[in-house]
């Protein structure tokens, strides 16, 4: 018994010592950081900015290139993508000045800008930027007429189809039904969309745009999806599933384009709208059973020749940042044409620079880029609103009910509109 006590006491002493050591390490590290920050303002060699984004090799390499070119050091913090928004949000709410550059997408830019968390960048924007960068991506990064972030890539949907099953890809949605019915392979679902969870609004927005409709009246802050074009779009989606029976039964389960790609690469889907990862994954022998079988086309159209959906990824400077000038230098560097090309070669992200998209090296590596200049001339942006998530969640639930035949398209859109108007305090 006595020995046990001694052992416990020893363990306690060791634990206390280790805690003290840890505390000492933490304190010294903090002081080191403060010292570097303090001298950084006086000495150009010690300039440092903190950037928050993902743990992927290219972004780290890009930071090194920036430091080599400018002398400004980059403290790079990484975070899981699904936590990116929340991590930044918590930091903003605590009025923290720890980050100098943060990644935003269309709806986050609107949300953060509306709360005053971001620095307006209009005074930094050059004419060169205005001409080089796709106007839809610039629009995606703005709020109430002010620019709050600079776009660097687009994650755009294109139309992917199995060329061993389909000779000519459909040019219109009506043609898609005809083409789908000609596929006689029992193991292959002719077509799929992401309708699961709370993401069905993204497919709906493409059909709505194809019909010539729009999702939101930004000037009057009102939904416009409950229109003849919207009802027709949702009726078409429901018909694809219930009347024509061409949809993959997994459509109602897909909560992301990635999940759909995983089924597509098993050869179980003939056609879908999907993100730029689709073709590289489909042609990866480790991941795919349809190597060399997939091809790309413009997304089918209706009143509009085509329309799409895709997020713009951009860089913003928090209003609380103490290093705004250096942060802007960083943003200019990583959004320049050369860096956008390197980014795209490394990870397949579509450059926001309209000329870089046409680059010969990129076209050689990514055949699906050939159609991008035309696809990007048509609408593709995400819905932007301070309450975008709540609004699209509500709409998606109603859309899913309609495509499964639980309610009529008219009823689904009417219900969604009523609830969303109440949500934003309008009648």
């Amino acid at each position: 018994m006595e020995k046990k006590h001694v052992k416990w006491m020893k363990m306690g002493v060791i634990a206390a010592l280790l805690v003290s050591m840890l505390a000492a390490c933490g304190t010294s590290a903090d002081k080191g950081g403060q010292a570097a920050e303090g001298t950084g303002k006086d000495n150009n060699e010690n300039k440092e900015i903190t950037v928050l984004y993902l743990d992927e090799p290219f972004w780290k390499q890009q930071n090194e290139e920036f430091t080599a070119a400018t002398g400004i050091k980059v403290k790079y913090e990484t975070v899981p993508f699904m936590q990116l928004h929340d991590k930044v949000f918590v930091s903003f709410m605590a009025n923290s000045s720890e980050y100098d550059v943060v990644h935003v997408r269309d709806d986050w830019a609107t949300e953060f800008a509306s709360k005053g968390f971001l620095e307006p960048l209009d005074s930094y924007i050059t004419d060169d930027m205005k001409t080089r960068l796709n106007p839809q991506t610039m629009e995606a990064m703005s709020y109430q007429g002010k620019q709050y972030a600079i776009p660097r890539y687009v994650w755009l949907w294109q139309f992917y189809y199995n060329k061993t099953l389909i000779k000519d890809p459909p040019k219109t949605w009506d043609e898609l039904i005809t083409v789908a019915k000609e596929i006689k392979d029992d193991k292959v679902s002719p077509y799929a969309e992401t309708w699961g969870g709370i993401v069905s609004y993204s497919s709906f927005i493409v059909h709505l745009r194809s019909n010539g409709g729009e999702f939101w009246d930004y000037e009057n802050n009102r939904p416009t999806f409950n229109s003849p074009e919207g009802v027709a779009a949702l009726q078409f989606m429901a018909d694809m599933n219930l009347k024509h029976n061409i949809m993959s039964p997994l459509s109602k389960e897909f909560t992301s384009s990635g999940a759909m790609t995983e089924v597509l690469t098993q050869g179980a889907i003939a056609m879908n709208m999907n993100t730029p990862q689709t073709l590289p994954m489909a042609n990866d022998e480790d991941k795919s059973k349809v190597v060399g079988q997939m091809d790309v086309a413009l997304i089918p159209g209706g009143k509009l020749k085509t329309a799409s959906y895709g997020e713009t990824g951009g860089l913003a400077i928090p209003a609380a940042s103490k290093n705004k000038e250096w942060a802007m230098e960083y943003i200019k560097f990583v959004t320049n044409a050369d860096q956008q090309k390197k980014m795209s070669l490394a990870n397949g992200k579509i450059p926001s620079d309209v000329e870089v998209v046409k680059d010969a090296d990129l076209l050689a590596k990514y055949p699906h880029y050939a159609l991008l200049p035309e696809q990007m001339q048509y609408p593709f942006g995400l819905f932007r609103h301070e309450d975008a998530t709540k609004i699209t969640d509500e709409l998606s639930r109603n859309i899913l009910a309609a495509v499964l035949g639980k309610v009529t398209p008219e009823q689904a859109l009417q219900d969604a509109e009523t609830k969303i108007l109440a949500m934003i305090g309008q009648k």
């Binding site: 416990w8 933490g26 590290a29 936590q83 098993q266 022998e285 480790d286």
Partner: protein, 274 residues
């Protein structure tokens, strides 16, 4: 005899069915960790890999960010457990044995702190850690986790102490033991099973915690749960890495349970007076 045999057979079959139900997800995780991505999404799903591969284990263990996240998790979970048990055991003893004004109200207050949704505490705690210079440090995360686990330890351990007959403690006092000696020589050894079981739950809670770890850690103190979430990328989920990471990440907890198995069994059976 035959009825008894049939009963036994049914019992065994139910046990096997339960075991399969509990172990099958773990078996799936284990086998999937040796699969190529192509096999992971085969339709219909296949249990066995068509080709066994260790390359994702090798890739994972060569990743410095993963091994350092493992170490960070060990530090944070280890200290959280040790400190929570040390302080919590004494607190639990006080609530079990001492009589003081408003004891029940204090005890309810300790329990009530557990009723607050953790999400509501995220921003206040973030600000406190920032103000105290503990943000993005091991200590900050350890303190945060202790604040959550301490009420649990007090509540759990109090019930173990109450189960020990007070007469034993009185006998020890008559033999000349001080209060601390009673705790060390009588209470802790007799409730070791409970202490270890509670400790394992605290360790697991800290090991798996994600919300606060994702907000209050940076590159230097990133824990395993946050690192693992990074395999869910913007473009796709790297399942081929996530499965081996799931296996490697569950090893410490598994080893801990195996190492303290005899105490856990004791914890479930102790409490009787001889």
């Amino acid at each position: 005899m035959s009825v008894k045999y049939a009963k036994k057979t049914v019992q065994i079959m139910i046990s096997i069915a339960l075991m399969i139900f509990i172990l099958f997800p773990m078996l799936w995780l284990l086998l999937s960790s040796f699969k190529l991505p192509l096999d992971l999404f085969s339709n219909p799903p296949e249990l066995w890999p068509s080709k066994w591969t260790f390359k994702y284990y090798i890739q994972l263990l060569q990743e410095k960010s993963f091994t350092s996240a493992m170490l960070n998790s060990l530090i944070v979970s280890g200290f959280t457990t040790a400190i929570s048990l040390s302080i919590g055991a004494l607190g639990a003893y006080a609530f079990a044995r001492f009589q003081f004004p408003r004891k029940n109200a204090f005890f309810l207050t300790v329990l009530a702190s557990q009723m607050l949704p953790h999400m509501a505490l995220l921003i206040p705690l973030f600000m406190i850690m920032k103000l105290t210079g503990l943000l993005y440090t091991h200590q900050g995360l350890i303190l945060t986790y202790i604040s959550f686990s301490l009420p649990y330890v007090v509540w759990m351990f109090r019930s173990f102490i109450i189960a020990i007959p007070y007469e034993i403690e009185e006998a020890a006092k008559l033999d000349g033991c001080s209060r601390m000696q009673v705790i060390r020589k009588i209470v802790l050894p007799l409730s070791m099973g409970g202490l270890v079981t509670t400790g394992i739950f605290v360790f697991m809670g800290a090991w798996n915690e994600f919300l606060f770890a994702s907000a209050m850690t940076n590159m230097n103190v990133k824990t395993l749960s946050v690192r693992m979430a990074e395999f869910i990328g913007e473009d796709r989920i790297a399942y081929e890495i996530m499965f081996p990471a799931g296996i490697v990440g569950s090893l410490p907890v598994l080893l801990l349970v195996l190492f303290f198995q005899k105490y856990i069994v004791r914890g479930l059976t102790e409490g009787g007076v001889k």
